[in-house]
């Protein structure tokens, strides 16, 4: 039962990495879009593509935390004690990012849009970095039950590298999705714009992964072994194949499938990491079985999850379908009958 819940948690992390990651990536490209005039069109696309789904994508994170404390309370306590600072910074980043994005849309003054936009874009960079650094710290075995908060837990080679990898992966996902979004919204110039960026981001992921091999060899030995052998290696190879397929599809300008392959590559990497860590939640000090909460609770967690999938699944499919079919559109000033006020667009 505990193993099953652990896999549910890995799946939720994969879902967050893909869904939330795409949004973080959009924020990354928002940051690099240039000044108000030059970046106007990419930002317009990012706004339109993200708006209906970003809140939903964000909720995966809450779900991960809930599974952690309900299913594996000891591990939750250990992680949040040892990784205090990066998690606190990630939380602040989440506020700035969400509020910045939500408040940028209804404001009309350029100066205000700049401030909210900057908060959104910078936080889109910092939050995945810190979350990645936490994962890196865990994978390298720096978190044990009773570890107190210290910089060593997350300011080390492995953590920094995983943090950077997280940023690169989100940038890759974001660019791939924005390619199709640009097609969907009929912005043909932006297709090429984000196609180039998707390819660059993929190159960055590959380079960082190659640098990671020697850096993590001794530092995160258990997970390193898991990723370079057995089932972990198989999943990594599959992820690489999916990544290369994405590049090929982008290269040949067939964007329809590139979303699926890019999501598959990121999800498979998360799955590979889950495999590599088995049977540990915190390598090499706390196993899944040791960390598991009460059996009765785990059974109920499975039941609640199953019911929730039945309820939420169809709704989620409907949302994504309506979104990709272009049925979801923001209310305009004409719909709510709003007037301009003096000072707009200043």
């Amino acid at each position: 039962m505990a193993d099953f819940i652990a896999w549910v948690m890995v799946l939720a992390i994969a879902a967050y990495a893909c869904a939330g990651g795409t949004d973080y990536g959009a924020g990354f490209w928002d940051l690099l879009a240039g000044g108000a005039e030059r970046g106007k069109r990419p930002r317009w696309l990012i706004d339109h593509a993200m708006a209906p789904v970003w809140e939903v994508n964000n909720v995966w994170l809450i779900f991960i935390l809930v599974i952690m404390w309900t299913g594996f309370p000891t591990m939750f306590q250990a992680v949040f004690s040892a990784m205090w600072l990066p998690l606190a910074l990630a939380a602040v980043g989440l506020v700035l990012r969400g509020a910045g994005f939500a408040l940028r849309k209804p404001t009309r003054r350029l100066a205000q849009q700049r401030v909210f936009g900057a908060a959104f874009a910078i936080a889109s960079l910092l939050t995945p970095f810190f979350l990645g650094a936490v994962l890196g710290g865990i994978a390298s075995g720096r978190v044990k039950v009773g570890t107190t908060a210290s910089a060593d837990a997350w300011a080390n080679g492995t953590s920094v590298l995983v943090g950077l990898l997280a940023i690169a992966a989100t940038a890759f996902l974001g660019a791939v999705f924005l390619c199709s979004d640009a097609l969907r919204f009929g912005a043909d110039d932006l297709v090429a714009y984000f196609r180039l960026r998707a390819l660059i981001a993929f190159a960055a992921v590959v380079v960082l992964a190659l640098i990671g091999l020697p850096v993590t060899h001794d530092d995160a030995r258990y997970v390193w072994d898991g990723l370079t052998g057995g089932l972990g290696l198989l999943l990594i190879i599959l992820a690489a194949v999916c990544g290369l397929a994405t590049v090929l599809l982008l290269w040949r300008r067939s964007y329809g499938w590139s979303r699926h392959t890019s999501v598959a590559s990121v999800a498979l990497v998360v799955g590979a990491w889950g495999c590599a860590q088995r049977p540990y939640l915190l390598p090499t000090s706390l196993t899944v079985a040791e960390a598991a909460g009460a059996g009765h609770t785990l059974r109920w967690l499975v039941i609640v999850t199953a019911i929730a999938i039945l309820l939420v699944g169809p709704a989620l499919v409907l949302l994504y379908r309506l979104d990709t079919m272009g049925e979801l559109e923001e209310l305009t000033d004409a719909d709510t009958r709003a007037a301009g006020t003096p000072g707009d667009h200043l």
């Binding site: 209906p52 809140e55 939903v56 909720v59 994170l61 809450i62 779900f63 935390l65 809930v66 309900t70 309370p73 000891t74 939750f76 306590q77 250990a78 992680v79 949040f80 004690s81 205090w84 998690l87 606190a88 939380a91 602040v92 989440l94 506020v95 700035l96 969400g98 509020a99 939500a102 408040l103 209804p106 908060a149 909460g293 009460a294 059996g295 009765h296 609770t297 785990l298 109920w300 967690l301 609640v304 999850t305 309820l311 939420v312 709704a315 409907l318 949302l319 309506l322 049925e327 979801l328 559109e329 923001e330 209310l331 305009t332 719909d335 709510t336 009958r337 709003a338 007037a339 006020t341």
Partner: protein, 494 residues
């Protein structure tokens, strides 16, 4: 376990104060948004339904504008809510580590319900333009139900902290033999849940109505303001007396299940019968009370419907097991403010009901609208007070009788926590300030647009614009009856 607990109580760790302040600040901020997350969709859907069924353009504009506000409010609520789930780990790892698997499932239900809510709200907010009108409406109907489900999860967790059960503590105080069903349906769950849900509906109703009451006072007495006021105000007015009963039963449940908390709420020092009720007043560490209004016998009567009812006093347990005199005074004031505002709101609801019954019309007095305008703010104050009562009244326990707040707190240094508090306060002030500024700006835009179009239509007869009822001051007889009666139906029946 008891000896370690007593030791910990005596040695308050330095990080306890900033951790508490941080949690209190973030929760106090988040809870102001909760009424709108839970109840604004419901009120908007009422208006939306009216717009579709009667093909009413004014109602449709109102529903659309409310949903535009909902969009921004929900986004800010999502992020402040996410911060809270981080803070459980960042500030209270001791509680989550030991009790996470006992009471965490409530949060699991809440997370999924919230997920559903986020999906549905996205479809609703972005579906206005392309989806078929009725399809759009029906896709949003599960939204209030998802909100109720989310509240179920959160209140299950909170009521468990107040009356924990569903486990057996072993020799070290760790829970074994966990029974989830018992842990979710604790004795305080029912009273707390209904009190909370109705409070959310009530608050959202009064706040939204208050916005249009202000417009009404400023002389904007068109159908738009009339409708915008009547629908949410009717919802809130119907629920106000209901809430009074629910609040009373919640207080009685506290009396039975958490007698020390009840003693703090009512600043009762010595266990006794014929206990007097103090309105406000201040409790001192020696048990004396200064200030306030003393009403003989009343507390016993309120608690058990008889002056012979025995009320447990604070002094019946050791000082380390009960709220301090200051904490008791805070809980008492919060409780009294909540009850006072609630009672005044009943008078307001009765005033409104009386006018409807007699004339099928809104009260004409400006004082009624002044009070209605304040009612929204007052409700937000009661929400804060209710939360303070339940949280401060439980001190020093984070899990009642099983874990102290000081045992749950993080080991992170106090300086880091103070720094974090400073950062979070600055960020939240900026975020909430911007949120308010954006909403006010939207309101200004809408008002300018309405005034502009009103001027453009000035030479047309009012019926061209609004198919139902007159725009100006209605006659008390037949003309006033139609919009009056229909408003009532929309608020009460659908």
């Amino acid at each position: 376990m008891l000896s370690t607990a007593a030791q910990l109580a005596n040695s308050t760790p330095p990080q306890l104060l900033p951790a508490r302040q941080l949690m209190a600040f973030t929760l106090a901020s988040h809870i102001l948004l909760v009424p709108f997350g839970v109840a604004l969709p419901f009120i908007t859907l009422l208006m939306h339904h009216r717009a579709l069924r009667r093909n009413d353009p004014v109602a449709l504009t109102l529903a659309r504008r409310w949903s535009a506000v909902m969009a921004v409010q929900f986004a800010v609520g999502v992020v402040t809510g996410t911060v809270l789930s981080f803070e459980f780990g960042l500030l209270w790892p001791g509680m989550m580590g030991r009790w996470g698997d006992v009471f965490g499932l409530g949060f699991g239900i809440e997370a999924w319900a919230f997920f559903l809510e986020a999906v549905l709200i996205a479809i609703y907010l972005y579906g206005w333009r392309r989806l078929k009108p009725w399809t759009h409406f029906w896709l949003a109907v599960p939204l209030p139900l998802a909100a109720l489900m989310g509240a179920f999860g959160i209140i299950a967790a909170n009521s468990w902290m107040n009356t924990p059960q569903g486990f057996r503590p072993d020799a070290q105080g760790n829970p074994v033999d966990v029974d989830v069903r018992q842990a979710i349906f604790t004795p305080m769950f029912g009273p707390e849940y209904w009190h909370f849900v109705v409070a959310m509906l009530l608050t959202a109703g009064y706040v939204v109505a208050g916005v249009y009451a202000v417009g009404w006072l400023r002389g904007r007495r068109d159908r738009y303001h009339r409708l915008g006021f009547t629908v949410p105000f009717t919802v809130a007015a119907i629920l106000t007396p209901v809430q009074f009963m629910l609040g009373d039963s919640a207080a009685r449940a506290v009396f039975h299940k958490q007698p020390i908390k009840f003693a703090a709420m009512e600043i009762v020092w010595k266990t006794d019968t014929h206990v007097p009720e103090y309105m406000f007043g201040r409790l001192h560490p020696d048990g004396t009370i200064s200030g306030g209004v003393k009403i003989p016998q009343l507390d016993s009567i309120l608690a058990g419907l008889s002056p012979d009812t025995k009320v447990t006093g604070l002094s019946s347990v050791a000082a380390s097991d009960r709220p301090t005199a200051t904490q008791a005074t805070i809980a008492h004031w919060a409780f009294d403010i909540m009850v006072t505002i609630g009672s005044v709101l009943i008078l307001l609801a009765l005033w409104y009901g009386w006018c409807w019954l007699r004339r099928r019309d809104l009260p004409r007095s400006r004082w009624f609208f002044r009070c209605a305008a304040i009612a929204g703010v007052a409700c937000l104050v009661t929400v804060e007070c209710g939360w303070i009562t339940t949280e401060v009244g439980r001190q020093p326990w984070i899990v009642y009788h099983h874990m102290r707040v000081s045992e749950a707190v993080t080991g992170t240094r106090a300086a880091s926590l103070w720094a974090m508090l400073g950062i979070v306060m600055a960020v939240y002030v900026a975020v909430f300030g911007s949120f308010l500024a954006v909403v006010l700006k939207m309101r200004t835009r809408w008002r300018i647009a309405d005034e502009g179009s009103a001027a453009a239509r000035a030479d047309l007869p009012p019926e061209t614009d609004t198919p139902y009822g007159p725009r100006s001051e209605p006659e008390p007889s037949t003309t006033g009856a139609e919009p009056g009666g229909s408003d009532r139906t929309a608020g009460g029946a659908s």
